[in-house]
Symmetry: C2
Subunit: 456 residues, 2 copies
């Protein structure tokens, strides 16, 4: 039996196992889910042992643990490090889910659940690829090390230190990550660029407590109005970010890059329908794909002030809060951008309120050099599984840890996504295609063979 045959025969069980994984509400951002998050780590370790990995460890960190699983029986062969995460985003708003976020359900060929694609489904298919080799052949053509963490959704605050501390043990020839999307259904993709992130919180404080808007309205500066004015000035009329210095390090797209992006099968009207907005928008002078992949942004992620319940409460709020994040592109540096943003926003504070700016988390952007034997092996494996040559894409999102891996291990990072556009990662009704869960595992199983074959 080949690994592919094994994967096809065990398809139903592998789905059932993923469902079990998805039922664990491992929301790393919420301390009330700490026990669930721990239980997802233990579950991951248990499945690694069952799959046949030899050294499995739930390694403690100051936060949620990292699950390590190793198989090193292929002496002389390359070592691949597989990175993924078992933690998930908070599921809110709950009332917009068709089925429960932690009650996975297949509808129209899609597995719906929080974490289905980000990242439990994508991480787990790598383990199934390893299992396929070990169960079908009793061995693996390469050495593997799994590093599955539990803090990706809160910015991986402890993974960098953990990797550095264990750099020798975890040393590898390439890093494999599936935590992103294919460009289109049936079109396998290798991502060669990620945007970075600078996530900030802005607090505006006016009166010491909420006031009656009749008794005091007109005499004090309203912190919610002040916050709105601050946010409004952060873009100019062309949709460009006005933070001084923000674009200084932005690498402009070359004509060749623009041509390559324009050559991809992409329809802006389809994107508009997918998101459901009345019209697309953003920085003037760029196509939507260019804006998503190669231009930095500034978006409000959350706004809160005063009374937001039912009815009309005539309150003049004492404070107002915005979560604001910027997506960064090469060669912006997230720490520099955080500083520029904080300085600028503080300078915008009108008299009558106080403005505090905090950086919540960040990561710098990333650009891969798509060359070398592991990259070639991936192209071949994807072509075999999907019957099509993979395309080179970039991601609008951020996987800050990619940077860290590249730095610590000085190895190429392969970002091979099996998600799909519209998958609702970080939103209600997150899903992963059942087909990609299967073909992804088959492609990765093939990849191990081709890496072992060496360059061709």
């Amino acid at each position: 039996m080949t690994p592919t045959e094994y994967l096809r025969e065990n398809r139903a069980r592998h789905l059932e196992e993923l469902f079990e994984y998805l039922r664990i509400p491992s929301v790393s951002a919420r301390s009330e889910h700490d026990a669930d998050t721990r239980s997802a780590a233990d579950w991951t370790a248990e499945r690694m042992r069952e799959a046949g990995l030899e050294t499995v460890e739930v390694a403690e960190t100051p936060g949620h643990p990292v699950v390590i699983g190793e198989w090193r029986g292929a002496e002389g062969a390359p070592t691949l490090l597989v990175y993924g995460h078992y933690d998930v985003q908070p599921p809110e708003p709950l009332d917009e889910w068709v089925s429960g976020p932690f009650d996975p359900e297949i509808r129209d060929g899609r597995i719906y659940a929080r974490g289905a694609v980000d990242d439990k489904g994508q991480a787990y298919l790598h383990l199934k690829a390893v299992e396929a080799h070990l169960k079908a052949n009793g061995t693996l053509p390469v050495n593997v090390v799994f590093v599955i963490e539990g803090e990706e959704e809160v910015g991986s605050p402890n993974l960098g230190a953990f990797l550095r501390k264990n750099a020798e043990r975890l040393g590898c020839d390439a890093v494999l990550i599936s935590d992103n999307t294919m460009f289109a259904p049936g079109l396998p993709s290798v991502s060669v660029g990620l945007r970075g992130l600078a996530y900030m919180e802005v607090h505006v404080r006016g009166p010491a407590s909420d006031l009656h808007s009749g008794q005091y309205g007109g005499a004090v500066v309203n912190p919610a109005n002040a916050l709105a004015r601050i946010i409004a000035t952060l873009h100019d009329e062309d949709g460009r970010v006005t933070v001084p210095g923000f674009y200084d390090r932005v690498r402009e797209l070359t004509d060749e890059e623009r041509r390559s992006i324009a050559g991809l099968p992409h329809d802006e009207e389809e994107l508009r329908e997918e998101v459901g907005s009345p019209a697309l928008g953003g920085e003037k002078g760029f196509t939507a794909l260019e804006r998503l992949w190669a231009r930095p942004t500034l978006d409000v992620n959350g706004l809160l002030s005063g009374y937001t319940g039912e009815g009309a409460k005539t309150v003049l709020p004492g404070k107002a809060m915005a979560k604001i994040s910027m997506r960064l592109v090469p060669d912006q540096d997230h720490e520099e951008v955080e500083r520029l943003f904080a300085d600028h926003v503080r300078s915008l504070a009108p008299e009558g309120v106080e403005v505090e700016v905090r950086a919540l988390h960040g990561g710098s952007p990333w650009r891969a050099d798509p060359e070398g034997p592991v990259f070639e092996a991936a192209k071949r494996a994807l072509r075999e599984a999907y019957g099509k040559d993979p395309v080179l894409t970039r991601e609008g999102g951020s996987i800050p840890i990619v940077h860290t891996f590249q730095e610590i291990f000085a190895s190429p990072v392969l970002l091979i996504g099996f998600g799909l556009p519209g998958e609702n990662a970080h939103a209600p009704n997150e899903w992963m295609s059942v087909e990609n869960y299967q073909l992804g595992a088959e492609a990765i199983a093939n990849l191990y063979d081709h890496v072992a074959d060496g360059p061709r």
Copy 2:
């Protein structure tokens, strides 16, 4: 025993009764408190009966009931209608209360509880004044009708129709209302002006659901950013409201009015300390008192969009909401202002989002003519209780129903507040001065005598 002596003898019991009243969480805006609100109505009716009112009724409306209590034994004497309300504002944010909002407590001569001053304490002292006459003298020098409603905090949607329907039965020579503040501690006041209110809700909708800010950020218009831009444009650099036509009907202050306001004992630095803002603010070219009493405003009352919990959720929100209210001054009309606001805000909607504007509730401003026998009786009664001549003030707040009373009964409305600046109405730690609860009842008991005496 005089009514005043009676009030002093029964001071402790009257406080205990008010505490009982304040323990009922009659939050009219919240349907989960419907039973509590009803129970506050029944409690009010029961106390009216005990005080000696002869006809007491919990009168149904399509919403919360109106409690009516009448005593009409003073044939030929004037009839005074006392208006108040037994409903209260929602207590949130709960964590800012020193003692529970429905667990009244006296600290430093103040009764702390939701509704202490707005309006249970102020309404109830009128009933105690009536009780004092009826228990001390067995009679009242005037006829009284109490109209205590349960929907003031949600804009009195049913009171107008109720009053019109019962106009003949409730006909009166003057209306007494205590739902506002004195100008300063120990300085009795009669209010001759109120601002109106136009309370709106603005909904901005972009993508059909929340999106991942990395995957989609830069390609769609963010509704929270769009809402911030809309709000930001609603004021100009001088703090003036930019809604076209907004100031067209505003009656400018006369030199005499400005002089009279400037003559009141008012310190802007004290006001600043009271509210706890770093500095006061508002429309340029006016003093704080002028801005509060005679200038219209536009304030955000609430803001909500996206993720507002702990941590950094990288969401691009599908929608954003603001509650925005305007305080109006003579001769602005709230319905006209609502229309102007809605038209203007809709016109500000950028491409890529949809904007919906709803009017939640409103009332026009009011200006009294401070003359006539009842007004003179009030001045005399306040002077006796407080040892000082009352000053004429205006209120920054709105009591829309004042308009309705004046219209329906063609009688003067006397607005005599026993609240105090800084009382936190509509905010955490609402309070009423114990002294004013007592002196207010004494003043009102005297007022009945002086109205009966006729003009002097």
